[in-house]
């Protein structure tokens, strides 16, 4: 039924463009009711209605790329590519998540006034009603540590910490007016990725693959990679499918080996033995299907076939040694090493193979001061990601992939203009204004949206809330965030809760 509704909206919106419906006045109400009753475990229905002899069709649909014609293709192959609500600009997303909250005041948002007033208390009017994680309230302003200059035709501001970004400023769009709701890392990351600060909701990548499936026929549709000294706070809740079927959860590709857990056959089983094994399982399953007629058996046969193919495709994918010297050089990637640069290159390889949503995390952007200093640690983080991030945009552009690939760069929040009293002084979490950038996939290149006040405390122009960003990402993929809903415990849930509006000015 959900797909009926999607088709319906699809028809209307193709003709009229996206429309707004009457919005609810309450903050936690939801999309209009009447969605699918139960969405999981109902594969039987399709087969049931079509009779019992469609096993072959199920297999074909699962393996083929053009299953969109099936009446409810999600029940045959949950990952089959599907049309969204309207024509997409972007076909894939690469999300470079800078976990910990990079300082916009040291990287993108130049504040001469902050430098000038460094060491003085902020005007009280600036602080009214604000809550912080660690600040006590008597901290003084902290001038930026870095020098800034303008680059490119667009004249974008960058600090000296991001030299490689100078090459891409005309390809990307800065949003300097991001704001979020929560100021602790775990909840804020979940908010960014799932639209809710509490664990249990589906991640953006899950929503996207639920909405439009994936064209990767021998890789998962939603892949997660991580670099940096530790995993992102909140862990699997960030790429969880929440209440969506687990088919849609992000699959973490591990740093070492072949990336996917249990990909390798046990020692002693070579490719031929594995083929014989897969054939035998398939044959035996087919006999059972002949006896009991449960279409679920056909799905399982197809799953074994896909697993067999993943065993070959994943190692090939992970082997970045096959890339040209120039490409490796551009990213600063070194085969066999765990790094953000390698992951960025891998991200391109993933989307080339049809993966829909690639989520990278690079951790330890949490420069409170002390051992997590803005002088020592922040430049290290920048060196780790600057080159790879810029190379990804350049590489995608050179290969003609940037137009249909949305690249997102940023953290879960920003950092305060006030110094946090540690030795040396750092910055606390700041939810009221921070900077992110986007590129490709229908985003207007070479522009900056939004402004903050002279101290960088509050937004003065074009605020973009996390839910707005989420709405925009879905929009670029051809999905209407108000219609991409899932019925759970009696309520239709969305990525954007009951909020969010598409950020029109940054669209091409």
């Amino acid at each position: 039924m959900n797909s009926d509704r999607m088709e319906q909206s699809n028809r209307n919106e193709a003709q009229n463009g996206p429309r707004r419906r009457r919005v609810c006045s309450g903050p936690l109400c939801h999309a209009l009711p009447g969605g699918a009753r139960l969405n999981a475990s109902t594969r039987r229905e399709f087969f049931g209605q079509a009779g019992l002899s469609v096993g072959a069709l199920g297999l074909a649909a699962l393996l083929g790329r053009d299953a969109a014609a099936a009446p409810d293709d999600r029940s045959v192959n949950p990952m089959a590519p599907r049309r969204g609500h309207y024509a997409p600009k972007a076909k894939a997303v690469i999300y470079l998540f800078m976990a910990g909250g990079p300082s916009q005041l040291e990287l993108f948002d130049e504040k001469p006034k902050l430098r000038e007033l460094s060491g003085q208390p902020p005007p009280p009017s600036f602080l009214e009603g604000k809550r912080f994680a660690f600040l006590k309230g008597d901290e003084t302003l902290l001038g930026p540590y870095q020098k800034f200059a303008r680059y490119g035709k667009s004249g974008a501001t960058l600090s000296d910490l991001l030299p490689f970004h100078r090459d891409i400023v005309d390809d990307i769009c800065f949003i300097k007016s991001m704001h979020t709701d929560v100021f602790n890392h775990g909840p804020a990351k979940m908010f960014m990725q799932t639209g809710s600060p509490q664990p249990g909701r589906p991640s953006m990548g899950s929503w996207v693959t639920y909405g439009i499936g994936s064209v990767a026929d021998n890789l998962p549709g939603f892949v997660v990679r991580q670099s940096g000294p530790r995993g992102p706070r909140a862990g699997s809740a960030l790429w969880s499918s929440g209440f969506l079927p687990t088919t849609y959860q992000g699959v973490p590709f591990r740093g070492q080996g072949d990336g996917i857990l249990n990909l390798n056959s046990p020692a002693g089983f070579d490719r031929a033995a594995q083929r014989a094994f897969t054939d035998a399982v398939e044959r035996m399953n087919q006999m059972r299907f002949d006896a009991v007629g449960d279409p679920e058996i056909q799905t399982r046969i197809a799953a074994y076939e896909m697993a067999f193919r993943m065993q070959a495709s994943a190692p090939e994918l992970m082997d970045i040694g096959s890339e040209s010297k120039e490409t490796l050089e551009m990213y600063g990637a070194e085969p066999g090493k765990a790094s953000f640069a390698n992951n960025a290159l891998l991200a391109r390889r993933l989307i080339e193979r049809g993966v829909r949503f690639v989520q990278l995390y690079h951790t330890s952007w949490d420069q409170h001061g002390g051992s997590e200093s803005l002088e020592q640690e922040l430049p290290l983080r920048c060196r780790e990601v600057d080159r790879g991030s810029a190379a990804l945009v350049k590489d995608l552009k050179q290969r003609g992939l940037l137009d249909e690939t949305l690249v997102i760069w940023g953290g879960e929040f920003g950092r305060t203009p006030m110094g946090e009293r540690r030795n040396p002084t750092g910055r606390d979490h700041h939810v009221d204004s921070y900077t992110m950038w986007l590129a490709g996939g229908g985003i207007r290149p070479g522009m900056t949206l939004g402004e903050t006040d002279e101290l960088g405390l509050s937004i003065t122009q074009d605020p973009v809330h996390v839910h707005d960003l989420q709405a925009t990402i879905l929009h670029l993929l051809g999905l209407n965030h108000e219609r991409l809903v899932f019925r759970f415990q009696g309520r239709d849930f969305r990525l954007t809760d009951v909020h969010g509006k598409v950020v029109q000015p940054i669209l091409m």
């Binding site: 209307n12 003709q15 009229n16 707004r20 009457r22 919005v23 609810c24 309450g26 936690l28 109400c29 009447g34 009753r37 475990s41 039987r44 229905e45 049931g48 209605q49 079509a50 009779g51 019992l52 602790n184 890392h185 775990g186 909840p187 509490q198 249990g200 998962p220 997660v224 530790r230 995993g231 909140a234 862990g235 699997s236 079927p245 687990t246 699959v251 973490p252 591990r254 996917i260 857990l261 249990n262 002693g268 089983f269 070579d270 014989a276 094994f277 035996m284 399953n285 006999m287 006896a291 009991v292 007629g293 449960d294 074994y304 896909m306 697993a307 606390d428 415990q489 009696g490 309520r491």
Partner: protein
């Protein structure tokens, strides 16, 4: 659905033209007055009516509906889906001040126009508006993308014509035991359940499926009740049991098996959102397994569900609560705790309390009360104020985003040890406290010796000093030394000190369990405006929603019956828990029996088992649901009796084989003309592997364990967890004992749909993915089971001569035997019995001929393959194999075992 309906087909086209001319959001509100004077021309009305009649003629034969229109069955779903969002319970969101969810609202005279005139559809505004030609005026408005089908319009008209009777929503009506319906052939029934199912099948002229064969039945029962497959011996015993009540005896045996509590306890733990860590970013370990073990024990001793409820929600408020009752309150301590730096305890305390409200609403009432956190519920009769009245029950506990309060929960051995220690320590203390007139004398003697020998030096030095020159510490040291050195009492003193230190060590080793404790003075609970706890609104008192039976009588408690502090004058969690399980509560029993049914059939009688509100689906067999609920309460809320009555029904015992002739009529098997095939849950996938391979450790309870898991799981968590891979028997415990980290559950469990563990889960998904295939085929733990299964079969002692029946039922394609003659398979004499035994260990049944032939071929091919690759064979044939088994043989059998463990049927309850 809408494709059959010309009305809705044309709707998008018309709404499109309007869309361009009108702004979006702001449909003018005073439409009511506009339309009151504007009536559809009579002729137009007739035209539409004719059309409606025609189309309903076409549509009606396919509908399940009886001739009479039922408000609950036919009308409420239409109104709820299409109208209540704007014309429902929430006044803030109500359009045109019109509400359609009450008779009063719908019959109100509104400036001469009335939405519904009972008995007169044509005079009813509602009918005019839903049939209005002009899309601008037609309801529901086009931008809602909702369309009434002509069938629905017809139903509404007929309902109004028949008097527009409103019924209370089915789930809010108290449970009455219905009479058994009559059935055509009572011989097809085994108990009351079957009457309800059969009566529906009779109406559709569908016969139920035949009873499944005995092997299928015992495997089904074993998996459903214990989560373990039956052993071949158990299968043989049941198949050979000719007594008429063999099946009932089997059920009785399984219900008494301690594994029952583990199997059904895990279902409950999903709802309790049980895990072994705190959640959020740091996700540190916590000790909750004493609560998990309480659940297992409670289910094994069939603690009546009413008591089960009260102890978990309010065990701490019972009079003189036992340790068990305190541990039971862990149910609501399974909420997350955020220990991240910079967190505000008040924020997370509120989140946890709200989670308790929402979880209670979902688990006991199947109501989405959480929807009223920020605003009055859009569909169900729960006002925002009422949400906070429920919240008030949970707002005054002592925990504040903290592990405390806790209680110590010694194991039986620890308890014994502790009691022994306490007893001996008391004895020693008593002896030491007895009067001792000789003591000064012995002391003087001891000091004199010290002076003489000057040993030990430090003490001698103190004694040498005059009394008033000694420091306090020196004097104490001297006194203490004498206590130990005293020839008479010294040994007692030494023993006392040693026991005391032992007791301290023991205390450290005794696990603690997180429990609920009430504050002596309740918090001032207030409405949170828009759900924001920083914006307190009016104060509220604990209470239950007005749409449900009132709390008043239970609130009149006497202090003798509870441990509620006398300072608390208002209703408490205990009152609330009592209220939940009162017989006049229309929801609790229905919700519970429905979920039990769901576990045994794959789907509930009410499919939306977590939403019994207006937006939920109505029960497929309403009388059966009520019969079960009534019976459940009548038999003392006994879960075991409930399960027994369901699994002994003919309905449950049917074959699950798909029926082609029903594929069109009842594709989803709503009518229950057969059983369903159900893939078992993640933990059970592991358990059947352990059981088949013979590795299973049969041990109940205790701290969670760490079976092998692939490397690299924690590359993605903030804090690197220590996965202390268990050795020995703990390596092979049932899946439910696997340590559960919320931020990174064991990947095998996640792959097979273990829920997120962060919020209550009342029904799991059943996905079917390539990652599951990789896990079954390659996971270290699974492969260990595979090898063990092969070893188990080849190491089997005793006769292998179990005859292979010559008249095995053959499948449709017995011709699958290879006929090209290129390779005549040569089977070793033992292969067939070994294979059949292995097959039975995995699937309980014997292979059909085609399966047997195919697997023997496979075995032989693998033998040849591994004979040619001795290194590969050796890497598979690790461990202890019988001396006469060659590596190639061992590898070939392992490969065959691997096929069996990877079959769909292996992880499916048929």
């Amino acid at each position: 659905m809408s494709g059959d309906n010309p009305l809705s087909k044309s709707a998008p086209a018309r709404s499109r033209s309007r869309e361009t001319s009108r702004p979006t959001d702001n449909r003018p509100i005073p439409r009511r007055k506009e339309s009151a004077v504007r009536r559809a021309p009579f002729a137009q009305l007739i035209r539409i009516s004719t059309f409606v009649i025609l189309s309903s003629f076409v549509l009606c034969p396919s509908s399940f509906a009886d001739d009479t229109v039922s408000f609950n069955r036919d009308i409420r779903p239409i109104l709820s889906d299409n109208c209540f969002y704007c014309h429902g319970p929430d006044p803030k969101h109500r359009e045109a001040d019109l509400r359609l969810d009450t008779l009063k609202g719908v019959t109100e005279d509104r400036d001469g126009s009335v939405a519904v005139v009972p008995g007169d559809p044509d005079a009813s505004q509602l009918v005019q508006r839903i049939m209005d030609e002009d899309a601008d005026f037609r309801m529901p408005p086009p931008e809602t993308e909702k369309h009434l089908t002509s069938e629905q319009i017809d139903l509404l008209r007929r309902w109004i014509a028949a008097g527009a009777e409103y019924e209370q929503h089915w789930s809010f009506v108290s449970v009455q035991r219905p009479a058994l319906p009559s059935v055509r052939d009572a011989a097809l029934t085994r108990n009351a359940i079957d009457y309800f199912v059969l009566a529906k099948l009779d109406k559709r002229n569908i016969s139920p499926s035949p009873e499944a064969d005995r092997v299928t039945l015992i495997r089904r029962l074993s998996l459903d009740l214990l989560g373990l497959p039956p052993t071949p011996d158990e299968v043989d015993a049941f198949v050979g049991d000719t007594r008429p009540d063999a099946y009932e005896r089997l059920v009785e045996r399984l219900l008494a098996d301690p594994h029952f509590g583990q199997r059904w306890g895990r279902h409950w733990l999903d709802q309790a959102r049980y895990a072994d860590s705190n959640g959020y970013a740091p996700d540190g370990e916590r000790t909750m397994w004493p609560y998990r073990d309480w659940v297992i024990r409670a289910i094994n001793r069939d603690l009546p569900f009413d008591q089960f409820t009260i102890e978990q929600l309010a065990g701490d408020l019972l009079p003189n609560p036992t340790l068990e009752q305190l541990v039971a309150t862990g149910f609501h301590r399974n909420t997350l705790i955020n220990t991240e730096g910079g967190t505000k305890a008040d924020q997370f305390r509120v989140e946890q309390a709200k989670d308790r409200v929402d979880t209670t609403g979902t688990v006991w009432l199947a109501l989405t009360v959480g929807c009223a956190n920020c605003h009055t519920h859009k569909f169900d009769p729960i006002e925002q104020k009422e949400y906070y009245e429920l919240y008030a029950f949970f707002d005054s506990t002592q925990d504040q985003n903290s592990t405390t309060p806790t209680v110590s929960v010694p194991t039986a051995a620890q308890q014994t040890q502790l009691e022994q220690l306490n007893r001996r320590i008391a004895e020693l203390n008593k002896q030491l406290a007895e009067p001792d007139p000789q003591r000064p004398q012995r002391r003087a003697e001891w000091e004199r010796k010290l002076m003489e020998t000057a040993e030990p030096k430090d003490l001698a030095a103190i004694v040498a000093k005059p009394f008033d020159k000694r420091s306090k510490e020196e004097q104490a040291k001297l006194d203490q030394a004498f206590e130990r050195a005293d020839p008479l009492r010294g040994p007692l003193q030494v023993e006392l000190e040693s026991l005391d230190s032992k007791r301290k060590d023991l205390a450290k080793a005794i696990p603690t369990a997180m429990v609920m404790r009430e504050l002596a003075t309740p918090r001032d609970t207030r409405i949170h405006i828009r759900g924001d706890f920083l914006r307190p609104g009016d104060a509220v008192q604990p209470n239950v929603p007005a749409a449900l039976p009132s709390l008043i009588e239970v609130a009149l408690r006497s202090d003798a019956t509870s441990a509620v502090p006398s300072s608390i004058k208002r209703a408490t969690r205990l009152d609330f828990a009592n209220w939940l399980v009162r017989p006049n509560n229309p929801l609790t029993a229905r919700v519970y029996v429905n979920r039990v049914w769901m576990r045994l059939f794959g789907r509930g009688i009410v499919e939306t088992e977590n939403d019994f509100g207006m937006q939920g689906s109505p029960p497929a067999h309403p009388e059966l649901l009520d019969w079960l609920a009534a019976e459940f309460m009548h038999t003392g809320w006994s879960t075991k009796k409930l399960i027994e009555s369901i699994v002994t029904s003919a309905t449950y015992r049917q074959s699950s084989t798909a029926r082609k002739e029903l594929a069109r009529i009842d594709a989803r098997n709503d009518l229950l003309a057969r059983q369903n095939r159900i893939r078992v849950e993640a933990e059970i996938v592991r358990d059947v592997g352990l059981a088949a391979s013979g590795l299973l450790t049969d041990k109940l309870g205790g701290p969670s364990v760490f079976p092998p898991q692939p490397d690299g799981v924690y590359a993605f968590t903030q804090v690197q967890k220590s996965w202390r891979t268990s050795a020995g028997e703990d390596r092979y415990r049932r899946g439910m004992y696997t340590f559960l980290y919320r931020s990174a559950p064991h990947p095998m469990l996640t792959t097979f749909d273990v829920p997120s563990l962060n919020q209550t889960c009342t029904r799991r998904d059943r996905s079917n993915t390539p990652l599951q295939s990789l896990t079954m085929a390659n996971d270290e733990a699974m492969f260990e089971m595979t090898q063990a299964l092969a070893r188990r079969v080849l190491s089997r002692t005793g006769p292998l001569t179990r005859p292979i029946p010559s008249d095995l039922p053959s499948s449709q394609d017995t011709e699958s035997k290879q006929t090209d003659g290129s390779m005549e398979p040569s089977y070793s004499d033992d292969d067939t019995p070994h294979l059949v035994h292995m097959f039975r260990l995995c699937l309980a049944r014997e292979p059909i001929e085609a399966e047997r032939t195919f697997l023997l071929d496979y075995l032989n091919n693998q033998r040849q393959h591994f004979s040619a690759q001795p290194d590969a064979a050796k890497s598979i044939a690790v461990g202890d194999w019988p001396a006469d088994v060659s590596p190639a043989d061992a590898a070939a059998w392992t490969a065959t075992a691997r096929v069996l463990l990877n079959l769909d049927e292996f992880i499916t309850r048929e």
